[in-house]
Point group: C2
Chain length 511, copies 2
């Protein structure tokens, strides 16, 4: 039951007795197929007389089942129903992911990821919003977004061997800032209290009006957003994993630069964004890096005072450490008593890999000669400090959300971890450092890129898309940045794993 369908219609041939207009004839046939009150795109309208007569009154009508009325976006001669493709995008601040889908059967024909070209104007959203102050700044960022999309479209349609022309619909899930920049809507109010987004649900927009290189009949459908820092990516993910149908209470966590979290079940959902900072993507960490080739992601300490066993992505010489590597390293060092609950290195430890560095104590993960960068890869106390603040923001966010609806985190039935980064987390270690709540391990579920998964669900299912509209509209957003309770919870979380150890019953601390 996809959001856009192609209907093959044999129109009644006009006669002197029945010479009603082509459009009336078409609308009548559509009505018989259950499509009443249909809207028609002007570009489609213009082609009517030729199209209906070209293949002896057999036509294929492309219908976008939008609300409040279905839209006839394209009219073709003959039966073209086999050529009905859709593209879904997850537009992230850093990366953009696309998927090309045969709408007939839901088959994924291609999938591509690339960097968001907006990064030319800043790695984080705040610097991009700042760039919008320049004359033409908003338009420049819009163009970079569509350039990114166009590149993905080109790659995907080429690799699948299909015509751009035959893409009927694009569905986009993105964070709120990416949505506004795609639409060239001034994002300034997003970064100022009280953090008000311009839009929530969005109308269908023609792809060519946004500069997207697809047929002129192609429309763009954007998954609605909730708040300035809770976007359509979250709405898409939450719906895709069916939280809104569950009887049990679930917590959805998308860990990235902005940890977005949703707590809820069938009857209600609350959401918040906790600015975790870029730590999990390697930012603010001396040798931090993205989870790409050369990044240390595995870290174990079989013998606390000996050298660690590390695992590097792509089996290369290490060049730095990524987010999941950090979690594993800090967890292991903490378990070994080398790192204290306060995030400081135990200077009295017998560990020979500890030394005084320029930023205070530091732990040598890998010596220079074994790296590809010719320098010792170390973990400093400043790194640990930044990490602790990031994980505290996420944990305190989850805690505050739970408290806001009067439950304890132990009462949460399921925790859904979304995001590509999330899939690489070791749950035990993440709990040990106090990033995730200490509940039964089998309650955790990884879903990968929830945003793309949701966009894919939406394009293939009208009902799913309608659920997203409803969810975005009814989800309650809690603003944490000025929330007193959150501040208290945050401060209490600035510890490994937490100042209140009763919250982490399964963690036995070393001393």
């Amino acid at each position: 039951n996809p959001l856009v369908c192609k209907l093959v219609i044999k129109l009644p041939v006009p006669t002197p007795e029945d010479n009603s207009p082509d459009l009336k004839r078409l609308k009548y046939s559509l009505k018989n197929l259950g499509y009443n009150n249909i809207c028609i795109d002007y570009d489609a309208l213009k082609t009517i007389p030729e199209v209906v007569r070209d293949q002896n009154w057999e036509v294929t009508a492309t219908i976008i089942r939008s609300s409040p009325a279905p839209l006839l976006s394209r009219l073709e001669s003959g039966d073209t129903s086999a050529d009905n493709y859709g593209i879904v995008f997850d537009i992230g601040t850093t990366a953009v992911r696309g998927r090309l889908i045969a709408l007939e059967n839901g088959k994924i024909l291609a999938e591509e990821t690339t960097y968001n070209r907006q990064r030319d104007y800043g790695d984080d959203v705040i610097s991009r919003i700042a760039y919008c102050h320049r004359p033409g700044g908003i338009e420049a960022l819009q163009r970079l977004t569509t350039d990114t999309l166009n590149k993905l479209i080109e790659n995907m349609t080429c690799s699948a061997g299909i015509e751009n022309e035959n893409v009927s619909l694009v569905v986009i899930a993105a964070n709120t800032i990416m949505v506004q920049l795609l639409l060239a809507i001034n994002p300034e109010p997003l970064r100022l209290s009280p953090y008000v987004p311009a839009v929530n649900s969005l109308p269908l927009i023609k792809a060519d009006r946004l500069g997207i290189n697809l047929g002129k009949h192609c429309y763009v459908n954007i998954i609605p957003v909730v708040a300035s820092y809770v976007g359509g990516d979250i709405v898409a993910g939450v719906t895709a994993c069916s939280m809104h149908n569950r009887e049990q209470t679930s917590l959805y966590i998308d860990i990235g630069t902005n940890g977005e979290i949703v707590l809820g079940k069938r009857d209600w959902m609350v959401t918040a964004a906790c600015s975790a900072g870029p730590t999990f993507e390697g930012g603010g960490i001396k040798y931090g890096m993205l989870a790409i080739n050369g990044a240390i992601e595995g870290f174990e300490l079989p013998n606390p005072f000996d050298q660690p066993l590390i695992k590097v992505i792509g089996n290369k010489s290490p060049a730095g450490i990524c987010g999941s590597g950090l979690i594993n390293a800090i967890s292991a060092l903490f378990s070994a008593g080398i790192l204290g609950q306060n995030g400081k290195f135990n200077s009295e430890s017998a560990c020979k890999r500890l030394r005084q560095g320029e930023d205070g104590f530091e732990y040598i993960i890998v010596e220079a000669q074994q790296t590809s960068i010719g320098k010792d890869i170390v973990l400093t106390e400043v790194d640990v400090d930044n990490f602790v603040r990031s994980k505290a923001a996420i944990y305190a966010g989850c805690q505050t959300l739970a408290e806001s609806i009067g439950i304890d985190m132990s009462e949460i039935d399921n925790i859904i971890i979304a995001g590509t980064f999330g899939s690489h987390i070791d749950i035990d270690n993440a709990i040990k450092v106090g990033l995730l709540p200490d509940i039964a391990r089998d309650k955790f579920q990884f879903i990968g890129n929830g945003s793309l998964m949701g966009a894919y669900s939406a394009i293939l299912s009208l009902e799913m898309y309608q659920d997203m509209l409803k969810i975005a509209d009814t989800m309650t957003s809690i603003e944490l940045s000025e929330n007193r309770l959150f501040m208290d919870n945050y401060v209490a979380s600035l510890f490994l794993p937490h100042t209140d150890m009763s919250r982490f019953p399964s963690i036995i601390t070393w001393h």
Copy 2:
């Protein structure tokens, strides 16, 4: 209750406790005003964050009350409700008329008429359709239409001293061919049996997409058409004179190159087009001309054998004779017995103004020395023949329409004569020549330009516009060109006034 309205809204100011999106805030306020499920134009959407903040959360929303959902076409800061203008057009094959209206109170601020620039490619619709076969032909004719509209817009907004930007909506009533050429829809099927128009009802279309020079928020609403030769001009006129609310049976006649006729009452309406030919606009008549300065429009014969009393438009020396002049002349000559019932001059008449010309007998209306063209202005038997065929087409059309629903023309309660030409007709003479049915004179009503009148009603009244949609959809069109009954009626009408004199009881023939 105009089709487009401006609502002034004070939006609730966002706070940290209520930081829902600008659009949600706006939609909520609109819902409270009774506008639910509103659609929003992308250009309006883009401006939201700036517009709402510019005048401290007071905005003016322009809403087009279209179906199936109202459309928010423009959003402005502050209260701009006083600047809400509409333009209506009647696009005829020959002339285009426009009216600029203050939508607040319905006041007409300017009215202009000009020639349709499409005339460069032919005086009649058939030659224009033929022109569309050339590459780029359709687009050229579209451009000429919008050039014509743009010129009228410029004149009207200048003379009224208002900004183009503040025109919210354009409503257009036009014949079917003009509608299709305005929209660049191939008109070819309109001229071939079974004469099928491409469209009937039409979506709202942005003015700038058609090349109309108005604000980019301005939309165009086109009155729906019925058949290839029964356009929105007729639907507009019929509705404006409230035929659809009358208990009595009315006949609506728009006499022009194509006599369009509608017969009906509250419950039903039937319509037909009878190709009267260009006679009434001076075409096919040796000294025929449009009803402009120099045209003979009055003709009386106080003494049958003496010279006629003529009246010339603009009190000039005569240059020719116009449609209403022809009716008056033929009627007078017929009454005087100079012209026989068969449309031939009575060669045995004592009238000295009759002579043998190159086309057979002819009657000298004005001698050369009294004209501005230096030639005798005559009425030839060929002229009379052409005229008789034109009037017969109209009369037979009316008769066939009446018979098709099983009534006699004498049962018609009202006859509404529309069209600028119609207003100049002398009813007695028109009946005497057999153009109009012989019923009580007080049953005739002149409404002038019904098309412009209807477009004006539609822009000022949503209900009226909705009535037009319904009427266009339910009106039954009867194709006369291949109708056996019509052909019989037509042949019987090729007489002055008719072969069946019992149909014209008030006309006493001379012999």
